[in-house]
């Protein structure tokens, strides 16, 4: 028999209350885990898409905060950029979220410059790539193919135009796996944006250094008013959806933290009120006030840790479930890591300590004789 076992036993002998408290904490932690992993995953997925393409810098309109930056005329900007030192390739990209089937939620439609380096990181699993700049075909990500029930040779209607599916590809980024891909010329035609792109991707040559990247950023700032050159990470962190999802996850952490601590607080306060006489006995038997505090805080921490473990399992389950529902497929890629789980467990322990401290202090302050007389 030690303090931990005694604390565990105290919780065990009130199964209903313990169960309810653990459930309440678990729900809060599950929300934190699911939302945070999705917010991070969303950011990571976009960054992965940009990194996988081998893009060193992205040039876009300064005020763009939407999922994809607003379109602009590429030609002049592209020429200016191509003339900068160590710039190997400048390629445009056009993207829109479009409904291509009434039975499926909107998907990303990307237009990439035909024959550019952007295509190189994709793995063709069926069919072929577009054969020319103007060929009205699409290749579709494996996940999008599954969601839209399309295979090579089928047809899809995009903004009133019919395209043949030339092939199916796979990408390491879930955003691309859930997308439809066509040449930039076709994307410009279909979205009625001739000559326009959302972003320009810059690939630097092998000799380029960090200093060269910084220099290009500076030159863009000076020579192309209204435009900004940023790394993929910077672009993603500016993205409104990423920012909103991160803000939501932070708000959830705060709310779940407060609710969790209050639940533990309430439970422990009720528990010590019920156990007033028992605490009196323990004090009479020579327990020091510090030991009483340790007991109550231990019980609170055990509750919150149990809630944390159950919450993590639930949160992972929720994120997994959301990844697989039709509406969200291909758009989120929740990421989990051991440091994240440790942080969540840390949060749980903190909830226990915060919620348990006052009840513990109150219990330790009780006068043994009064506690023994308590009915």
């Amino acid at each position: 028999m030690n303090l931990f076992r005694f604390a565990l036993d105290n919780l065990y002998r009130r199964p209903a209350r313990t169960g309810l408290t653990v459930s309440a904490i678990a729900l809060g932690i599950a929300a934190v885990v699911a939302l945070t992993s999705i917010a991070w995953g969303f950011e990571a997925s976009w960054q992965k898409a940009n990194d996988a393409r081998g893009t060193d810098l992205i040039v876009t309109k300064m005020t763009s905060e939407n999922t994809m930056p607003s379109p602009f005329k590429a030609e002049k900007v592209q020429q200016t950029l191509a003339g900068l030192p160590h710039v190997k390739e400048v390629v445009g990209l056009l993207s829109e979220m479009l409904t291509v089937s009434n039975d499926a939620p909107p998907v990303f439609v990307f237009g990439w410059v035909y024959g550019s380096y952007l295509w190189e990181h994709l793995k063709l699993v069926d069919g072929r790539w577009p054969a020319s700049r103007e060929e009205p075909v699409v290749v579709i990500g494996a996940l999008a193919a599954e969601m839209l029930h399309k295979k090579t040779g089928d047809q899809v209607e995009i903004e009133g135009r019919v395209f043949q599916v030339a092939g199916i590809f796979e990408s390491s980024a879930v955003v691309e796996n859930g997308a439809l891909l066509m040449t930039l010329d076709m994307a410009q035609q279909v979205t009625d944006k001739p000559g326009k792109v959302n972003v320009l991707n810059i690939k630097m040559d092998a000799d380029a250094t960090e200093a060269d990247l910084r220099s290009i950023k500076e030159q863009v700032k000076q020579t192309l008013p209204g435009f900004v050159a940023i790394t993929s990470g910077e672009l993603v962190s500016k993205n409104a959806v990423v920012r909103i999802s991160k803000a939501m996850s932070n708000a959830t952490i705060l709310i779940a933290g407060l609710v969790g601590a209050l639940v533990v607080f309430n439970t422990m306060l009720m528990s010590i009120n019920e156990r007033t006489r028992e605490i009196g006995i323990l004090l009479a038997l020579g327990w020091q006030r510090g030991t009483i505090i340790k007991l109550i805080v231990s019980e609170a921490v055990i509750l919150s840790v149990a809630g944390g473990v159950v919450g993590i399992v639930m949160g992972v389950g929720i994120a997994w479930g959301l990844e697989h529902i039709e509406l969200m497929r291909g758009k989120i890629d929740a990421i989990f890591s051991m440091p994240f789980f440790f942080a969540v467990m840390g949060l749980s322990v903190l909830l226990g300590i915060c919620g348990g401290f006052y009840p513990a202090f109150k219990a330790a302050r009780s006068l043994p004789s009064a506690a023994l007389r308590y009915e």
Partner: protein
């Protein structure tokens, strides 16, 4: 003159007052009492006479309003940590046993050692030895609900002894037992107290119990009527 009366006092009480409700209730009203090392003192008196209050003050469960208490030359007023003082010097036995229902007899005995410096094995061995001495060898892992009243009180006696106190304070320990069980518990308790040279202060209504003590103190209205000194 007995050997006991020659031994040094373990507890000296002078002009002890315990008032509640801004002095309107005088639970203890000028109590003077000396208790010698190894003495068995019983406290008798009608309900509300201040017996349990006196026990609580001696056991540091209540702080006196005024007066002087000295335990083995240490004034109570100089005790820094009352819990530590209780743990090291005093064992409590209550009429209602106050065992923790979800812990086995053995674990109930070990409870007071939680937070102490010794090893778990050491305390477990000591608790087993005490329960064996109290005739509960085959009841170690029984829960209080499965024990008779007498057995429960024996577990409580073992619990009061686990930290090797110098003084046992018992508040009507046989009050909830039938006469046969009461006699058995009393035999065991007095036997151990005598064997280990402990001081026992027991509150009791039962004349047959108090008859076995070295000294009977009679209280009324918060005062000692009889038996204040050895």
């Amino acid at each position: 003159m007995s050997a006991l009366s020659l031994s040094t006092p373990i507890l000296r009480i002078k002009a002890l007052n315990l008032h509640f409700d801004e002095g309107r209730i005088k639970a203890l009203n000028g109590v003077d009492l000396d208790v010698r090392e190894g003495e068995f003192v019983s406290i008798a008196g009608p309900s509300g006479s201040g017996k349990s209050s006196l026990l609580n003050v001696i056991g540091t469960l209540d702080a006196p309003t005024s007066g002087e208490l000295v335990f083995r030359d240490q004034p109570y007023s100089k005790i820094g940590d009352a819990s530590l003082f209780r743990r090291e010097n005093i064992g409590f036995i209550f009429q209602a046993f106050y065992l923790i229902p979800t812990l086995s007899a053995l674990d109930n005995v070990i409870v007071p050692t939680i937070g102490c410096d010794g090893t778990a094995d050491e305390y477990k061995a000591h608790a087993e030895a005490l329960l064996t001495q109290l005739g509960l060898r085959d009841r170690l892992h029984h829960f209080p609900g499965k024990l008779s009243g007498g057995e429960r009180q024996r577990v409580a006696i073992a619990r009061s002894l686990i930290n090797r106190p110098r003084m046992i304070l018992a508040d009507e320990p046989t009050g909830s037992l039938d006469s046969a069980n009461a006699a058995q518990v009393l035999d065991i308790l007095t036997g151990i107290v005598k064997e280990q040279g402990l001081t026992l202060i027991m509150v009791t209504h039962d004349a047959t119990v108090s008859a076995r003590s070295d000294r009977i103190i009679r209280m009324r209205d918060g005062k000692i009527e009889q038996g204040a000194s050895a």
